[in-house]
Subunit: 147 residues, 2 copies
Amino acid sequence: MTGEAGQLQQTIRASIPLSEAMQFSIIELNPRNILVQAPLEPNVNIHGTGFAGSIYSLAVLTGWALSTHIMALKQMQGDLVVAKAEISYRAPLTDSIQCRTQVSEEDCAAFQLRFESKGTAKLALKVEIGASGNAVLRATYVAVAGV
Amino acid sequence: MTGEAGQLQQTIRASIPLSEAMQFSIIELNPRNILVQAPLEPNVNIHGTGFAGSIYSLAVLTGWALSTHIMALKQMQGDLVVAKAEISYRAPLTDSIQCRTQVSEEDCAAFQLRFESKGTAKLALKVEIGASGNAVLRATYVAVAGV
């Protein structure tokens, strides 16, 4: 884990109590992709598999963390929130929960260009959860300048 | 809160660590509707308002709790999971988080009838979050007999 990943993880865990409860950890962080992991134990449901709420929360934070990292790298000063999201659960998670997402160079450039010209921009991300496509989140984040 | 609400809340909080971390509480529970509440403090985000993951998790548990209650009342023996969900965030939550949902008598009867004839049935619920429509979740739950 790079220093930037550790710093971002620390910021998130210090500011969002639920991320601490879930043991949200950034395993890899690069300018266009991220890998997040959390142990199963604090995130189980009544059946002993991954809790739907934990899976969603870890995935939505995965996209938020990558978007925030991109904004920092591109010196886009502002606030970032999730506007809407949809999730499909395909198979139960029986081990630690991994979430990964990436953004293309084109989408990244369009996000920055729109933010700089309009003061607000959307970024749509697809977050894949689990090693065998256990769940998929599609979330739309909105960046607003100078908040 | 009735005894049934207290018992269901206790089962959820004992089995799902995240529900305990969020301080998930059932305020009202009836055969066709439910009201859930959680304090803001354990559920804040980096901006000091309701964390998107907490809002989703509380809402998805609200629908799960009502569906589970209906299954118990109608003696539908089986397992209940959420298959898919979508959420829209309209305005930040700055106070305690309330979630409510209800099901019509017709949907309830169709859910039971299909479960009894097919051994599996879906129930789609709309969960409203916050006093002023701060967020809305639409979730589809699936009941499977005898698991």
